[in-house]
Each structure stands twice: as structure tokens, then as C-alpha cells.
């Protein structure tokens, strides 16, 4: 009987060997793959059991995790939800995240490489692991001013310090309350998300950076003028035929100036006057005159067709290849045809002019600090690109000041301060409401802030609003908020 018992023993050992093997396979070799399965709720619980770092503005949290008494241990709250929604984004249980919450997720969650040692330390000492805190460059007063100034318009405002690239305000409307997406009830989150996502006003889109980009209209004349002054080496007083109607080359479409008529008196008009009065016909003529290469090169130098991280990813604005089509070239010269811009792109144009031709990379993050307050990462200003020389910049600066003083952007005037600005009133299609723009900076001689404002849907005025009547007053309030600080 002993021989049989030995064999039975071997069978039992084999059965247990199989169990040891399967346990090792599951808990060691395929543990990561199982943890990454989207159906694995434990992975989400684990991310919530750690206190996620706060997002701070001027030392005050605009997103923070507070203890909760359910299985997730912490509840993400946004004390000033709608005001900062375009900055913080949202952070849901299992429906993804956006904004800073997504862009700096590793740091906030405490899983970034620079936090490895402190995480290890907290495991050893038994402290609750915590994510890093993120202090933003946003100025709460300017953010509030921009938020109030935009009112109930559909659009966006962005304000940046031109010398450093620090983003002072970033507002996109319509907004939403990220608190409604942070609740710990997945069904409710999905319901809220679907309602927001199917809203025709698209509140979840951050219009400062991405979404359905708008034609820049006359704000693109900064790029066209830069190309003329610098790439084509044309002086600012170069004279162009002053027509009241301009038939596009190779087309029967006739372009007119805003408001009709010619661009001021006289048979010819200078580039400067065309810029200050924001005339379309001379700009179209200028574009055709200098050729597509000069314009395309300058657009790319200003940042069209390229993206960067702010650290929220910025969608590339579009200046598609012109393919030797002079009609397209003429239309593109005043920001129509297929040119599409984000407010971030438009503010970069003002930043180049304000900062001697250098665009500093716009950035939202000032400092990232570990829970023990040691600084993990400190903001450092860095150059994004240098599209124009300081001479070109100062010429354009004086034109933009002139545009505000006596040209097409007079509604941005502030008493006692010289403001530089450029408006834009872009067409979207026959009968469609205009997109209204303003970009500029102040004070012109020592710029503290550059700003871009976009108001979509015609500012509720259809085709009767203009950049100067709708967008410029909004920008003015933001500039005042910075200057009165």
C-alpha cells in the first residue's frame, strides 16, 4: 500500500505545485496587466486612497482632496469650480480627466519620478502618501476680472506676462462646475458628463487652447505686416492701390473693406494706415505682392502649425499650405480662408510685438512642491520662438498703439496709459455670425500684460458686432485689472 500512497502523495504535490505556479503567475507576472484593465475598480480606489495634491492659486486651493467617509477615502473639491474650470479641468472616478488635473496627473498623484523617494519614505514611516501641490501662475484678481468681463458671452480670454510667459488669466465660456464630475457615483458622473458633452455650447472645451478654432480675421494682419516688414523688407510707408473693391486673382469674388468704401482718402494707402484702420483690400494686395512663401514662413515663425504644452497641451493653430493659389493667399492675408487660430496663438502674436520680437513660452505652473514643501520643480521662463526683430516689433507696437488711439481699436483706450491693440472681425460663412477678436498689450512702452479675447457666435449680434465694439471693451477691463493692481 505504501507504493500507492507515495504516488498519491506525488499527485497531491503536483496539484499544489500547480496552485503555487498559478498564484505566482497572477500575483507577480501578470499583476501589472491586470491592474491596467479598464474594468479594475481597485486601481481607481488605489488612486483615491492617496491624498491627491492640491492645485493652488496665490496660495489658495482651487482644487483639493478632502477626506471622505466612503471607500475612496478622499473627495476632490473645487472651491471656485466654474471660475477656474478651464484651468483645473475635471477629475472623474473612471471617465478620465482634463486640464491641469490631466496634464500634471503624475505629480498630483505622487507617482512622478521626482517623488519616488518621498513616496518610499512615506511607506516606510507609515504616513499617508500624498501627491505634490501645484501652484499656478494665475492671478486670482485678473482671472476674476476676465471671467466677469466675458460675462455670458461664448468665448475666451487669456492674459499673459509677455516678458516671462506666465499665464495670468485663462477663461473659457460657457463654463461648468468640475465638482459635478467629481462625485463618487459613476452613473451620476456619466449622466452629467453626457449632458455637458452634448450641450451645443460645448462647455467642456477650453476655448483658449483648443476646440473648433476660429478664423483670426484682422488680428492676423500682425503676421501679414511682420512678413512684409521683415521677410519682404518693405518699408511701412509702402504704398498700395486704395480700392473700394478688390477682385480676387483668378476668381470673380470681390473683397471689400469692413464698412465698405476705400481705406481712407487718396489713390494709394500705406501698409501702416491699412494696419491702423484694419483695411482688408490693401492687406490682400500686400499678400499677393510679397508672395506666399514670405507669409507662410512668418506664420510658421509665429507658431502656426505647431503645438506645445502649457503644460495643458495647446492645439496647433492652422495655416495650411497655399498651393500657389493667389486667391487663397489674398484671403489668408487678412486672416480668412483656411487660417484658424486659438486665443493662445493670437496672444503670442501680441507677446512677440510687446517683447522685442521674442515669444516666451506661455506657462501655467509656477511651482510644484512635495508635501514636505520641498520644491520639486520651479517655473523657468523660456523662449518659444523669435519670429521678428526688435525693430519690426517696435514698428508694429507703434502701429498697434495708433490703432487704439485713433484707428479701428478705440474701445480699448485707457486714460493715462498707452495701450497697443488690434481687433478682428472674422467671417465664418455666408449669414453666419462673426467671430470677434481683440489682442493687445499695455503699457505699450513697458508691457505688463498681453491679452487676447475671442467672442464667438457674433457676441449675440449676428453680423452687426465687431471686434472693437464687443471684444475690445472686454480686453480693456482685463488690462485695467492688471494695471490697477
Amino acid at each position: 500500500m505504501n507504493r500507492e500512497l507515495k504516488r498519491v502523495t506525488i499527485v497531491i504535490l503536483a496539484m499544489f505545485a500547480a496552485l503555487f505556479l498559478s498564484v505566482t503567475t497572477i500575483q507577480f507576472f501578470s499583476a501589472d496587466a491586470l491592474a491596467n484593465d479598464s474594468r479594475n475598480a481597485r486601481t481607481i480606489y488605489a488612486s483615491y486612497s492617496k491624498q491627491r495634491g492640491p492645485i493652488l492659486v496665490a496660495g489658495q486651493p482651487i482644487a483639493q482632496s478632502v477626506p471622505s467617509d466612503d471607500q475612496y477615502k478622499y473627495q476632490r473639491t473645487y472651491p471656485n469650480g466654474p471660475l477656474y474650470s478651464s484651468v483645473t479641468g475635471y477629475y472623474t472616478l473612471d471617465q478620465g480627466s482634463t486640464g491641469i488635473e490631466a496634464a500634471l496627473n503624475d505629480e498630483l498623484a505622487g507617482t512622478s519620478g521626482s517623488q519616488f523617494l518621498s513616496q518610499l519614505n512615506s511607506i516606510v514611516t507609515g504616513q499617508n502618501p500624498q501627491g505634490a501641490s501645484v501652484e499656478l501662475t494665475i492671478d486670482p484678481k485678473i482671472q476674476q476680472a476676465a471671467y466677469d468681463a466675458l460675462g455670458d458671452q461664448q468665448g475666451a480670454v487669456i492674459a499673459v506676462e509677455p516678458k516671462t510667459g506666465r499665464i495670468l488669466a485663462m477663461v473659457s465660456k460657457p463654463d461648468y462646475d468640475p465638482n459635478t464630475l467629481a462625485v463618487h457615483d459613476t452613473d451620476e458622473v456619466i449622466k452629467t458628463y453626457n449632458a455637458l458633452n452634448t450641450d451645443p455650447a460645448e462647455p467642456l472645451i477650453n476655448r483658449t487652447l483648443d476646440g473648433n478654432l476660429d478664423p483670426p480675421g484682422s488680428t492676423f494682419k500682425i503676421v501679414t505686416s511682420s512678413a512684409a516688414l521683415q521677410n519682404a523688407r518693405l518699408p511701412g510707408d509702402t504704398q498700395l492701390p486704395n480700392l473700394s473693391g478688390y477682385q480676387l486673382p483668378g476668381s470673380d469674388h470681390v473683397v471689400s473693406n469692413a464698412g465698405g468704401g476705400t481705406c481712407g482718402p487718396g489713390d494709394t494707402v500705406s501698409i501702416e494706415t491699412a494696419f491702423v484702420l484694419s483695411c482688408n483690400i490693401p492687406m490682400a494686395e500686400l499678400g499677393v505682392m510679397m508672395g506666399q512663401k514670405n507669409l507662410t514662413d512668418m506664420a510658421n515663425a509665429y507658431g502656426y502649425n505647431s503645438s506645445f504644452d502649457s503644460p495643458i497641451p495647446v492645439e496647433a493653430s492652422q495655416f495650411p499650405p497655399l498651393k500657389d493659389d493667389p486667391a487663397q493667399l489674398a484671403l489668408s492675408s487678412f486672416g480668412q480662408a483656411n487660417v484658424r487660430s486659438s486665443p493662445m496663438q493670437i496672444v503670442e502674436q501680441s507677446m512677440a510685438v510687446a517683447n522685442g520680437g521674442v515669444i516666451m513660452q506661455p506657462n501655467l505652473v509656477d511651482t510644484i512642491s512635495a508635501p514636505d514643501l520641498t520644491v520639486l520643480q520651479q517655473f523657468q521662463a523660456k523662449t518659444l520662438s523669435t519670429p521678428i526683430t526688435s525693430i519690426t516689433a517696435s514698428t508694429l507696437s507703434s502701429w498697434m498703439v495708433e490703432a487704439v488711439n485713433s484707428g479701428a481699436a478705440t474701445n480699448a483706450r485707457i486714460d493715462g496709459v498707452s495701450v497697443a491693440g488690434k481687433t478682428g472681425t472674422a467671417e465664418n460663412g455666408t449669414g453666419d455670425p462673426y467671430t470677434l477678436w481683440f489682442t493687445g498689450f499695455a503699457p505699450a512702452d513697458n508691457p505688463q500684460v498681453a491679452v487676447a479675447v475671442v467672442v464667438q457666435n457674433g457676441g449675440k449680434l449676428g453680423q452687426s458686432g465687431s471686434g472693437n465694439t464687443v471684444a475690445a471693451p472686454i480686453a480693456k477691463k482685463v488690462l485695467e485689472a492688471v494695471l490697477n493692481k
Binding site: L5, I12, L19, I26, Q27, A31, L34, R42, T43
Partner: protein, 475 residues
């Protein structure tokens, strides 16, 4: 053989000394080779150690899940079990002083770890008082240990059981049939293996496995000659005569009936595996094993084609992550969630009280091993598997060392049934085999399972005491 208590250790030493002509009996004082007190003292030491671990596990659960220690619960869950097993230990000193010293501490440790983990899931699910499974588990442990105590006190000689071989056959048959009877039979999660009388419910199949082991042992001892000697040689193996196939066909039919009427694959596999192994050990004929495996595979194959639930089990096993299986009613959701839990535990586990085991359905009973794997990790599961192996090793030792064939067969049967049950349930959770509903011995929540396994403990203790009390040295 008569009652063995009379045979003391001095007798064993005498047997040796008289057998060896070189040594003179009166040359020097005889050294006692077996000292029952030493065995029992070792057992007491191990028991106290197990009880300390159990109490610490409850404290760690509280600290991990609630951040505070509730001494009332520690006393109820930890100390309660300790008092019971030490009572059992004291009884052993009188009625089975030579019993194996490892079996009781291992069973205690497994039972205690199970209570701690069940308590942990109670906390997660917010169950307190009589609603909490952990408190009921403690009460069931008490019932089980007291029954085990009665078994070991009143069953002084295991061979008495052989006299009632056919009584146990009838008992096991009745226990198996009970759940099918209308009125008291209950269907839980699709399996009809429960009976309910008033507020109490019980899985008679758990007890039936012991009755079956006794019946098989008695039956095979008396019939082994006819089952092993005669037959026709074929392919180098001696195959039994057709009329000797009767018993295995009966057991096979019973197992298939369990699959068809009670929807319980695991139990059927357990009974049939038990019978085949005992048959093989009794007859030493490999052909029985081949016939047995062939019959069961054929049955399972037909069942997987004919019975929807068996087919689903195989589909879930092969492709658990397939959304079709995952989202299906009775699909692989539980299996996959268990795997997620195990993966969440990783090498060293989340720590007691710090995982999320209750996401997985039946985390306290069928899936207790996944719950423990999540919180104690691979390291913890290895320890648990080693504890089972040690328990099984002690049981097999009894069979190896026993002198009467009935005792040896019963020992291997009871041990193998524990081993096979571990394999079926842990293998099901870890995807070695298709998942079937069985309880993990000692760990899982459930009264019937506890009572049955503690009776096995009592029987193994009784067998080991008999073996060690015999006038032999080789133990």
C-alpha cells in the same frame, strides 16, 4: 485490535530491546522514546502561537480598516476561538495523548485567519452584530470544535466505524439526496446543495464527504481482493471484470446526478476523486484510475455540451476577459474580479484591512482565498498553501505508518478529500481549472464546512493517536 490506550510507550521500548540481542535489558536505565507529554506540550506551544497570530490578525484588521482597536471584538473573535481549542487540547491530554501535535494548531490557525478576513469584509460591508458573518463564524467554530471534541471523546477506537460501513453508505446517500427533496432543499446561486430548516441552513454534502470516506474505506477493505486480483490483462494492465465495475459505476452515477440535479460540479468531482484515489490505494491497480478518469471526463464532456451552466463554466474559464463572458449573467465577472483582487495584492499584499476584497462577489465564502490573497499577497497565500500541505503531510503520515488497512485507507481518504477540495476551490479561483462553488477548508465562511473539517481533524487525531500508541518505532 482492542482499545489502544492500554498500550503504553514502555511496551514499545520493550519490543525493541527484546528484539535486539546486543543490548542487555538491564545495562542502563531505559530512555523513553515516546513521551506523550512532550507531544502535548509541543501542541500547546504551537496552539498558543497560532492563537497569538489569530488575535494579532484581528487587531491588524481593525487598525487597517478603522484605525482603532476594539477590544470587545478582539476578545470575541480571537480569544473565543483560543478558549475552545485549548479546551480541545486539554481533552486530548486525556483521551488521545499520542495524537499528532501539528494537526490541531494548523486547523486553529487557518480557522482564525479565516475569521479575521471574514471580519474584515464585514467591516467593509458595514455588517455588525448578528448580521456579521464573522460572529456567526465564531459560533459555528464553537459548534464545530465541540462536535470534534465529542467525536474524539466518544470514539476511542476508529475501527468501530468499520462495523457501520453500510450505515455510513445510507447516511451519505441520504445527505446527498436531502437538498433535492422539496420543502427543505434550497437553491443558492444556482446550486441546489443546501437544506433549510427554519432560519438555519446547512450544506449536507460537506458532512457526506466524511460518511463517504468511512464507507469507501470499510467497503474497499472487505472487497479489495475481488477488485484487485481477478481480471483480464490488457496493454500491460489488469482490467477488472465487468461485474466488478458495479461500485465505480454507482459512484459515477451518483456524481453525475449531483452535476445534473444539484448543479454542483465541484462536489461531484470531490466525491468521485475521493473514491478513485481510495480505490487505487486499496487495490494497487492503475487501471481503476484510468477507468475513473475516463468515466469522469466522458461525463463532464457530455455535461458541458448538454448542461448550459457547465458549458458557461468552461467558457468563463477559457476566456474570462472576453466582454461576452464578463457581462453575461452568471459569467466571469466574479472570476475576473477575484483575479483583479489577487493582482492588487501583488507580492506582499495591501495589508489586512487595506484592500477592497468585497468588490468580488462571495468574498467571505467561495472567494475567501482571493480576499486573503489581496490583503496578504503572494507571500501570505504561500504560507496558507504551506499550512495546507503540512496538514496533508501529517494526514498522509498516518496512512504510511498505520497498521490496519481500514485506518490507513480512512486516513488517506480524509486527507485526500481536504487536498482535493483545496485544489478544486483555489485552482478554480486562480484559473487552473474551471471555477466551481466549494468552500476552502477552515478558511471560508460556512457552518457545514467548518463542522465537516473539524470532524476530519478529530478523526485524524484519533487515527494518529492509535498509530503512535501501537508497539512500533517507525512513526
Amino acid at each position: 485490535m482492542t482499545n489502544n490506550e492500554a498500550t503504553n510507550n514502555a511496551g514499545a521500548v520493550d519490543a525493541l530491546t527484546t528484539a535486539s540481542p546486543v543490548q542487555k535489558p538491564d545495562a542502563r536505565p531505559l530512555r523513553r522514546i515516546r513521551v506523550p507529554e512532550k507531544l502535548r506540550n509541543l501542541e500547546l506551544f504551537l496552539l498558543l502561537f497560532a492563537c497569538v497570530i489569530n488575535g494579532a490578525a484581528v487587531v491588524m484588521v481593525q487598525l487597517g480598516a478603522q484605525g482603532l482597536v476594539d477590544f470587545g471584538q478582539v476578545a470575541l473573535l480571537g480569544v473565543g476561538l483560543a478558549v475552545l481549542v485549548i479546551g480541545m487540547h486539554v481533552a486530548l491530554r486525556f483521551v488521545a495523548p499520542n495524537a499528532d501535535p501539528f494537526i490541531l494548531p494548523i486547523a486553529t490557525l487557518l480557522n482564525g485567519i479565516g475569521i479575521a478576513e471574514i471580519y474584515r469584509i464585514d467591516i467593509e460591508q458595514g455588517a455588525t452584530g448578528w448580521d456579521s458573518t464573522s460572529e456567526r463564524q465564531v459560533v459555528w467554530s464553537a459548534v464545530a470544535i465541540i462536535i470534534a471534541l465529542l467525536v474524539i471523546v466518544f470514539l476511542r477506537n476508529h475501527r468501530v466505524l468499520q462495523r457501520y460501513t453500510y450505515v455510513f453508505m445510507v447516511i451519505s446517500g441520504v445527505l446527498l439526496l436531502l437538498p433535492i427533496l422539496p420543502g427543505i432543499g434550497k437553491e443558492v446561486y444556482g446550486a441546489r446543495v443546501w437544506i433549510g430548516i427554519g432560519p438555519f441552513s446547512f450544506q449536507p454534502g460537506e458532512i457526506a464527504k466524511i460518511a463517504l470516506a468511512i464507507f469507501f474505506a470499510g467497503y474497499l477493505v472487505s472487497r479489495r481482493d475481488s477488485l484487485s486480483m481477478v481480471g483480464r490483462k490488457f496493454l500491460g494492465m489488469r482490467f477488472p471484470r465487468a461485474r466488478d465495475l458495479g461500485p465505480i459505476l454507482v459512484i459515477w452515477a451518483a456524481s453525475m446526478a449531483v452535476i445534473i440535479f444539484q448543479h454542483d460540479l465541484g462536489t461531484a468531482l470531490l466525491y468521485f476523486g475521493l473514491f478513485v484515489v481510495m480505490l487505487y490505494v486499496a487495490t494497487a491497480r492503475l487501471s481503476w484510475v484510468i477507468i475513473g478518469i475516463g468515466l469522469f471526463l466522458a461525463g463532464a464532456l457530455v455535461a458541458s455540451q448538454v448542461l448550459v451552466y457547465v458549458n458557461d463554466r468552461f467558457a468563463n474559464w477559457l476566456n474570462p476577459f472576453d466582454p461576452v463572458n464578463y457581462d453575461a449573467q452568471g459569467g466571469s465577472y466574479q472570476l475576473v474580479q477575484g483575479l483583479f483582487g489577487l493582482a492588487n495584492g501583488g507580492l506582499i499584499g495591501t495589508g489586512l484591512g487595506q484592500g477592497s476584497p468585497s468588490i468580488t462577489p462571495l468574498a467571505q465564502s467561495d472567494y475567501i482565498i482571493a480576499s486573503l490573497g489581496e490583503e496578504l499577497g503572494m507571500a501570505g497565500l504561500f504560507v496558507i498553501l504551506c499550512l495546507y500541505l503540512l496538514f496533508i503531510a501529517r494526514g498522509l503520515r498516518i496512512s504510511f505508518a498505520g497498521t490496519d488497512d481500514f485506518g490507513r485507507l480512512l486516513g488517506v481518504g480524509l486527507t485526500f478529500v481536504v487536498a482535493l477540495q483545496c485544489f478544486i476551490v483555489i485552482g478554480g479561483v486562480t484559473r487552473v481549472i474551471p471555477l466551481t462553488g466549494l468552500t476552502t477548508p477552515f478558511l471560508a465562511a460556512g457552518g457545514s464546512s467548518l463542522v465537516a473539517n473539524w470532524i476530519i481533524v478529530a478523526l485524524l487525531l484519533r487515527l494518529s493517536d492509535t498509530v503512535r500508541s501501537q508497539p512500533r518505532l517507525v512513526v
